[in-house]
Assembly symmetry: C2
Homo-oligomer: 407 residues x 2
């Protein structure tokens, strides 16, 4: 596997465009469009929130129908959630606008929205945006990058990732872009991910690879069930790499899944590190837990604790907060076995042994915490399972952003 500089236009046959459609923001692009030259096998994972935005219902129907997709249209600024039947109708009108210009049928067109809940989508501006983007579709690296920028909301950086793998002598590319930033408290920081690949792969295996890698990547940034009304992750595979189609769980499937895992892990860590107002990526590794599920719940419990996040922000080596968050996770374990370490590029320090907090150097601990990537390592010493969760620190800026998100 090679990690390369790339994004949603890196795989063969994919083009992108973006435009400033004036959906909500001024003086910036806020719509993007992806199109594939060839029909695509698709897979998707969607929010588990009972309150599902209209685009989620639209896209899920396409993935479930098995129709071969050709395009994705995305807007930032308005989420088209809690908008009732009118919101769903806006999805249809958007897809029909693509049909009119590009000739794809509406069931070949995904739509995705992120932004304020409750506001109505201005369909005329969406349609005008599509009319502007269609002639500008472009397979260049730059076009992919600009699309990644156009779908941002409170994100401070565009988020892209790309790898190439070799399957039976053919180079297969997997690339993608995503947005998502309200991840300190992940319930509503809509995550939209769009992965494109030229791999030839069956729909069933594409969905399996996606579902399994999402579990280890994006779902380790978010808490189970604590998902936005709009969360969407789509993969489009157009087969233009020319590899022998992946039809069973063989070596080629393993290579593809490994590539997809790398792309998804990279994007997930970028989302965590770019959490609203964040100054640091906060990583929690749980080792030697009784089971994989336990390890996941334990690591997420620490990474989502507001008090732990605030301590990371303040470089305050208040390791009792991390131990406490393990304790209330709901996992049954013996707290009197747990060792804990603080880790960063500045070193590794043991802060607790057998559940008792050590008399460690506060200075050394603060030094380790002064970093853009801080890791708490919890050695449970009661099993063999490991999991990693990602989050970020909780800052004044987070409160500022969210006390008036809509202004």
């Amino acid at each position: 596997m090679n990690i390369i500089d790339g994004g949603a236009t890196s795989a063969k046959g994919f083009k992108a465009a973006c435009t400033a459609a004036g959906i909500k923001y001024k003086d910036r692009t806020d719509m993007a469009m992806l199109v594939s030259e060839a029909p695509c096998v698709t897979a998707g994972t969607f929010t588990r929130n009972l309150v599902k935005a209209a685009p989620v219902l639209w896209d899920r129907a396409i993935v479930e129908s098995g129709s071969e997709a050709r395009a994705v249209v995305i807007n930032a600024g308005i989420a088209n959630a809690c908008t009732g039947e009118e919101g769903f109708e806006a999805c249809r009108l958007s897809a029909e606008a693509v049909q009119e210009i590009c000739g794809f049928t509406p069931d070949q067109v995904f739509v995705a929205s992120t932004g304020v809940i409750g506001a109505k989508l201005p369909v005329d501006r969406i349609t005008a945006g599509i009319t502007a983007m269609a002639p500008a579709l472009d397979p260049s690296r730059e076009a992919g990058h600009n699309a990644a920028r156009a779908i941002m909301t409170t994100d401070t950086l565009p988020k892209e990732a790309c790898v190439t793998i070799e399957i039976g002598g053919k180079i297969v590319t997997i690339g993608g872009m995503c947005k998502g930033s309200g991840m300190i408290h992940p319930n509503m920081g809509t995550m939209l991910c769009f992965i494109t690949t030229d791999a030839a792969i069956s729909k069933a295996l594409l969905q399996k690879a996606l579902s399994e890698t999402v579990e280890e990547t994006y779902n380790m940034v978010s808490v189970d069930g604590d998902t936005s009304t709009n969360d969407t992750c789509l993969v489009l595979a157009n087969g233009l790499a020319g590899n022998d189609p992946i039809q069973e769980e063989n070596e080629a499937y393993a290579a593809f899944k490994e590539g997809l895992m790398e792309v998804n892990r990279t994007l997930a860590m970028k989302i965590a590190g770019d959490g609203e107002g964040a100054t640091a990526l906060f990583e929690v590794i749980v080792e030697h837990a009784p089971s994989k599920e336990d390890a996941k719940v334990l690591s997420k419990s620490v990474v989502t604790s507001s008090l732990s996040k605030a301590a990371v922000y303040g470089h305050d080596a208040n390791c009792g907060r991390f131990l406490c968050a393990l304790g209330y996770s709901g996992v049954n374990f013996d707290p009197n076995l747990v060792d804990m370490y603080f880790v960063s590029e500045h070193g590794k320090l043991k802060v607790a042994q057998d559940g008792v907090i050590l008399a460690y150097s506060e200075e050394k601990a603060a030094e380790i915490m002064t970093t853009e990537h801080f890791t708490v390592l919890c050695d449970m010493k009661q099993g063999e399972a490991t999991a990693t969760a990602w989050g970020c620190d909780l800052t004044h800026e987070y409160v500022t952003i969210n006390a008036d998100y809509r202004s």
Copy 2:
């Protein structure tokens, strides 16, 4: 039932004292002591966190043993949690210090601590504090009030409540004090509550009344399982009111439980409204839910959502966040039935109908939200159950407090 100005010394036979023992803070009192003239029947509820502080283990053993208590010794500043066997030994030494001066056996002496996790309790200062407090024990209103002040950590106000009820012609008093303020994210804002009453009541019924009222009051401020290492709620009943002992679930028990509910509800709302950095009490009422358990989970899901709390702080009528928090609560319901209202002393405004956000007046909504007690009312329209949860807004000050709690 009469609500009166009172606290932990209002019931007959209870005295209090406090002192500046220099546990952690300077220039303030940080230890308190409660003593009953007569032996007390006891009841208690304790943290469900697997990581339990030493005083929790000590007190739980006393409640379970059935021994009749005489005293409670409390310190603020250090939690005596994650301190291993040495921490438990510190509890024993504290109780023995009380024995030496007051003559009670150690199993008649509760101890409670709140503050930083991991630091060792300075037993010499605790002992000196007890020596200073014992001769100053006083049944006055002021002594109770000063004790409530001495047990504060980041609390901005002391928290007391008191009622009297009549049982068979006798006046029974139920009073109490508590501390707790880290309640925006309730996992670690240690809640300590001490209720004193002169009621004569059996141990079994005292525990039953406590457990049931805690469920509807303090547990509706905190999320199930998300409890600190130190959370403790104790009731001491010395029987000096002279009522016929309450031995069965009759009218007298109902009156006692109603009084205890009132005291606990008042203290719980004071804890929520005094959340770290809070500017407002944030109340969420869920009506017409399928079941009581559903109503509780739904109301807590909204009241603990960081994005909802930040919106309350910013007076930002972003009602999609509240709907979203219902949706990810884990409760199964039909989102297309839900109506939502914003309520305060400035009025009541319908913001969503049948799951769709209405085109309400932003100005009116902001006016309603500019208050010290803001309520979101969720009418699920799919059952008969109701629950109320309490929290507070999420502010810059919260981050400031918790980014360096220990300084």
